[in-house]
Symmetry: C2
Amino acid sequence: MLVPRFFPFIAFIIFSMACVAQHPSLMLSQKNLAEVVRGIGQYPLLKKSFSSVKDLADEAVKNPINVPVPKDGGGGFTHEQHKRNYQYILACGTAYQITKEKKYAEFVRRILINYASQYETWPLHPQQRSSNPAGKIFWQNLNDCVWQVYVIQGYDLVYNYLNVADRNSIEQHLFIPVVKFLMEDNKETFDRIHNHGTWDVAAVGMTGYIINKKDWVEKALKGSKKDNTSGFLAQINQLFSPDGYYTEGPYYQRYALLPFLLFAKAINQYDPQLKIFNYGNGVLKKAIHTALQMTYTNGAFFPINDALKDKTFESEELIYGVDLAYGDISTDRDLLDIAQKQDRVIISDAGLKVAKEIAAGKSKPFVYKTLWVSDGDKGDEGGLGILRSGDNNDQQCVLLKASAQGMGHGHFDRLNLLYYDNGSEIFSDYGSARFLNIETKSGGEYLPENKSWAKQTIAHNTVVVDQVSDFKGELNKAEANHPQLIYFNSSNDLKVVSAEENNAFEGVQMTRTIVLANLKELEKPMVIDVFKIRSNKEHQYDLPYWYQGHITNSPFKIQPNTKKLEPLGPDFGYQHIWLNATGSSETGNASVTVLNNQRFYTTTFLTDSSTRVKFVTLGANDPNFNLRNEKGFIVSQPKAKNHLFISLVESHGNTNPIAETTVASTARVHSLKLLTDNDEVSSFQFMLQNKTYTITINYNIKQAFITLQ
Amino acid sequence: MLVPRFFPFIAFIIFSMACVAQHPSLMLSQKNLAEVVRGIGQYPLLKKSFSSVKDLADEAVKNPINVPVPKDGGGGFTHEQHKRNYQYILACGTAYQITKEKKYAEFVRRILINYASQYETWPLHPQQRSSNPAGKIFWQNLNDCVWQVYVIQGYDLVYNYLNVADRNSIEQHLFIPVVKFLMEDNKETFDRIHNHGTWDVAAVGMTGYIINKKDWVEKALKGSKKDNTSGFLAQINQLFSPDGYYTEGPYYQRYALLPFLLFAKAINQYDPQLKIFNYGNGVLKKAIHTALQMTYTNGAFFPINDALKDKTFESEELIYGVDLAYGDISTDRDLLDIAQKQDRVIISDAGLKVAKEIAAGKSKPFVYKTLWVSDGDKGDEGGLGILRSGDNNDQQCVLLKASAQGMGHGHFDRLNLLYYDNGSEIFSDYGSARFLNIETKSGGEYLPENKSWAKQTIAHNTVVVDQVSDFKGELNKAEANHPQLIYFNSSNDLKVVSAEENNAFEGVQMTRTIVLANLKELEKPMVIDVFKIRSNKEHQYDLPYWYQGHITNSPFKIQPNTKKLEPLGPDFGYQHIWLNATGSSETGNASVTVLNNQRFYTTTFLTDSSTRVKFVTLGANDPNFNLRNEKGFIVSQPKAKNHLFISLVESHGNTNPIAETTVASTARVHSLKLLTDNDEVSSFQFMLQNKTYTITINYNIKQAFITLQ
């Protein structure tokens, strides 16, 4: 894996840390301080942002200092207190620089002296688990790294307030032992090419800059052996694709971004000649933009892989990201739109610039794109296909997940589809099974159902073969393979992405083609989903659509299970699904209409006499009420070698319960019919009112991959 | 029932319709027209409101006129078209008066001539149903009345534009036959003391004023026999309680208000000497204010009885209500707050005043109150107890439903409890089972599950005896009885309502006392729910709490049904409930914590060794996917004569998934213990941290009904 893209660059690294002699020196610099103070009086967003920082700082100084001996896991008291403490330290440091009121600096001094008086006596955290290396302050080392990244910024902000004795005491008894713990005791994490590694090197490297330890900085950049087999630069090279995609997916991309950005900013301040933001073809800038492109217009990240669904671009990492991208990298005015939605800037040189230019009316709507985002350090390990249509107030968005596995947090969801419209999820991903920081839910950690349900293929909108997950749910096999992009095109009327996955199920080749098609008979573009399967052996193929909303129409024969529910299967996630009803259609077609956020969505799909449509609800085998009761319908082909799933999804009409009006509650598409399906070509037709459309996909002809007439 | 409260008043009615000779004469009057036109240029809310009226009018004049022969039921094409037509007529009439552009008036002229050319040939609507009297334009007569109420306003607005021949044609061939249909053919509805009757008399009376038919007005006011046994004045007397509560509940109160207000406004314009807004102690004004008091801070009406849950005070009826209340009755400045949230005013004399005073900064926050709203025309048939705490941004609200049955749309939910906090429903009411105007869902009408589920007692947060609903679900028995208020008090620290119901279950006396108590150990007031049952025979008592959110903790022994679900019972709604798990506690206490909208809610309740806690999900016996999959837990006492349910509901902590912080996820209350429970007194204690609180309820002592120490 280790092929740094810009190895020669690294040879020129010269550590010239002396160039920043004064404090503060990181997000907020001595040079710009006076202008930031003026800006707080002038620019509403900066003013408001400082006001909430100051509120936090005031809360900090109001209460007695509390540095408890670490004891509790995530969500527990000591965990939350130490978290609060690092937030207090940064807030007070910032408040001190802006207001010059000594009480804030004094708080930082006193609490750091307190930590310094205890830290060396703390053993490894008592709540440590085998899953992750233990911290001392928190149950996992990762949180200790985060703690240090915040705390060192606070220290930089009050550096000039402290006398030499205090500095010595804090550095000797806190920062040096912390760095020893993070860099030496946890050397494996320090050298890991992984987001935990990034937090670790950022903590060590930033501390190195601030307390002037060149060796730490060098190791943080180039790895403990200083040979670039690990460390920050290797991480930049290997963790992001050339398109700025972080291999674990958007949720962890967001999380991983923060240490990348904070450490990069520190590098840029202390070693500007490294031009770190241009490193690797400017991949950090791309990573920020790509993170934003992996959100829907409601701000939520696509919840693929292990992801908490309520994470949005309003999260702190992206506030740093947007501010630094605009302030330090390039002034793309549509970033200001995101900053306005974030409603907060960092009290920093970059935040000043953002707030100032928003106040000057320079913001323009964020430009969401139809794009292919490649995965893999060389960009050849599949990726995400994102098709969009409509403006930011009412946008359709379809995602094809054809990226690589993404390490341990990856889901077994090759060729998964997500669909958004009208500000809402229509076909959704469960995300992870986790209640973050809620102690009564497995200590706030990933729940057992994350593995037994959320990671399994059936939890996603993609084909399951013989009721067994991709790669039988085995991570190492999944890591060894990735899907391939077949075709991507974005024209106004026909946006297309097609990708294949030939390793997830032995002897089964799968190609999914997703189209967002502008058809003049329809008010909104139609989603065309063509899932082609080739196999020499007979299999059961299940294609679930997990929908949000309520079914308003399903006009075909349905046998409901009204008096008893049983799980759909024994394992691979099927054990968590209740089977509510089974439908069949003799007409060659069936459709399901769902009402969601006052709009209707009809999925019309191909059937034959053996097709079964299974209406299901999540929740079986869930003794601790850990699962949400999501609903889906599964188009199931019980016995086939080759098979073609075709689904047409129409967004139509609306209902307004306040005005009591309903428009176009039934779909217009009908008479879907398969024409051809062989190794090279799939062709089918459907009708809209009286017009017949024929779609042909030529899998091997790039120049005429798809035709619609 | 017929005891007009202000009979002498009626004797002075003098019909002096001549006093308004000019048109327009209703919501928008000739006298104020010039000022309204000026106001549209000046006041943002009026400008914006007119802009959307004009958009609708422009849409109307742009397309060909379409007056289809009535054919379809609710949500179908002809239904929606005729609905659109009356909205077009009113919008074009308004646009004509404001802009004086003839195209708008000409549209109204042409479409009314078109209706006049067809109306007399239309038979009763082909989609008529036995449940409601048929209309001619719509499937039910009710919608025909609504149509006429809108259309006559449009006619008034273009009256001066029309020549005598057009007026004759429209009056002779449309309005006179329409009134004949509504007043004579549907005499029963016309004389009914019911919201359908109100729409009918409003349609007839308003038409009478505008086309100068004194006889119609008199019948509309005093009933077809002109003896005040029916008609508008009798409706005012009998349909509203002295507190302005409409007996069917908030959802229908909203709906019923509109014809009351529109007709009252017409009466006030043509017969100002009647002082109709003061009639019956000003009950119409009270009805508007009470309607607003029956909303939560998110604007949603309490969804008791048959109610669509997404109805808010933004609905058109309340826009009329707020504008008229402020414009014609009394200038309560907190109404302007509601008008701002409605974000629309009626283009009218009243709307002008509202928009003008909002622009002048006169708005102040709407004053939500803790209050008892009596039901019954004399105010002695039970009512609603509403307890509130906190400001409009974060308000706790508890409702005790102890009103009378409320006719055919009433639910069998005596002593039901609803609980709101933090902008969200916590313990919720299902509302009605209906997808309004969605044809594929039983033609948009009430679904079969409305009767089999939504109306049944178990669908509500109140006690069910022996798995049978209140009054065995029989309407006439339920109509004959009502609960009684026992005690109501609103102090800052202890808000209390207590009511009894002794007829719902034979031989069972039930008293529910709900308290919202400020306790200094807690961040938010605690809800204390004491449900006392007295009986000589043994029964099963089930107390369900239908919650919104996700269970995060239930620390007692729970036997989950992980591999098979079955319905909880055979009928009275139990057939729709899946039993997910059954819990029991030997400690005398149990608690369930739910996370909802980032806040935690813990319900701690009394148990003994026979108590079972049933965790349930709605959805059994639902072959057409008509039910939402709501969740609840039922505290079930399998065999008891007397029994006391005590539940303490604590709102605590929060979780912020964006900032990744969690605070106070576990409850502080513990050690709940019963001390005494006899006919006169119930007493119990609980602990908060180390403090013991003792609560005593003296049911027969008004002066010391409840003590807390």
